[in-house]
Symmetry: C2
Subunit: 221 residues, 2 copies
């Protein structure tokens, strides 16, 4: 059986979960307290991070590298276009969300509000929370600008870029940090992704001590 | 003419420069003061980062996405193997260096010692410098452990993983922050990469106010 070591509110783990579910690859989910690493865990991934996917008698790590592997070995349904220029745009946006959005928004809000408490690493730093809350506006506007020209974030077909972005936004939505009124085009885009069967696994996540708001699992939010 | 907007001591720009040179793609280098962004620069890359490659009437950004594009459009010589598992290992190690090594080492040493002064952002934070100097030892040991089992970092052929790692180490070597005596296997590996024609462009880099040490350009270091 394939096995994914993960934590529920990690955008990187969620991106892999969505990719697995889109490609109908069954997987057993195992929560991993990576901030209290065991020697066995570090053997699986010396980088000390999740997600870790055990599949095809391989141990796969790094979310983007895992998704590229899944795309190459289970090509249907495709989450990347065929044209190299279009593929570049998908990968550029994956980096946009996994690097820039992660540093400016996800880490500033999810890490400060949730992870710090779960990991017993102190209280939220209000300077970081303020920064993240201000910065998400810019990113929602950028997404709306893209969606004004395209059906999906990277072009006219749904790709890994959409699942990467949705993975981040879904974590922020769990803690009510997305203002869905700001950009109707972004809300419409998210509603389309959120109603996919692959998204169901994320909508039933429960983090102990942090119950999700009612709208989180509601498809008509 | 292809054009690369870059800064000389950025591992991400150097990774793209090495990939371009390996594939014998000619390019005009243009230094970009990305920390003083002009509207024109932000139009090319709203993420506000270098490298930016103008090629095939496209504007390409994000170093890993650029290198994947170059691999797909100019496949010879290949910098990625064909087997999906082997490709995953290349991409895993690219992430290792561009994310983990960057956060723990490159940013702690190069940013503190050089970028801060160039950007007029203050003095090196000695806590960061100490952290980076301690942490690089762990990474050199990890590389030696890989090279004990393989000819190159990701397997028995030279790949983008090697150029990614060499891009980071070459920046650190420019400021004499690599102890080449620690792991002879890593030194041997770096000597092989350093002697490639593609590396020459990096060895003549000069950062104003920071002359490189004599060993930096010496192939017999």
């Amino acid at each position: 059986m394939n096995r994914l070591y993960h934590v529920p509110l990690s955008p990187f783990c969620r991106k892999v979960r969505l990719t697995l579910a889109e490609k109908k690859i069954e997987v057993e989910l195992v929560e991993e307290r990576y901030w209290e690493p065991t020697p066995e865990f570090l053997r699986r991934n010396p980088a000390g991070k999740v997600p870790i996917l055990r599949m095809d008698s391989r141990v796969l790590t790094e979310s983007q590298a895992i998704c590229e592997y899944l795309e190459e070995t289970v090509p249907n349904p495709p989450l990347m276009p065929k044209d190299p220029g279009a593929r570049h745009e998908v990968r550029r946006l994956c980096s946009w969300f996994d690097d820039k959005f992660q540093n400016e928004v996800t880490s500033k809000l999810v890490y400060e509000r949730v992870n710090k408490k779960v990991m017993a690493q102190g209280y939220p730093d209000s300077k970081n929370v303020k920064f993240g809350a201000a910065r998400i506006k810019y990113h929602l506007d950028y997404m709306a600008w893209l969606l004004d020209q395209r059906r999906w974030l990277a072009g006219d077909v749904m790709t890994l870029a959409d699942f990467t972005a949705a993975a981040h936004l879904s974590c922020l939505d769990y803690i009510s940090d997305v203002d869905w009124h700001r950009q109707p085009a972004v809300k419409d885009w998210y509603a389309k992704i959120k109603s996919r069967p692959s998204f169901r696994t994320l909508l039933v996540d429960q983090i102990s001590g942090f119950p999700p708001p009612a709208h989180y699992a509601d498809l008509d939010f």
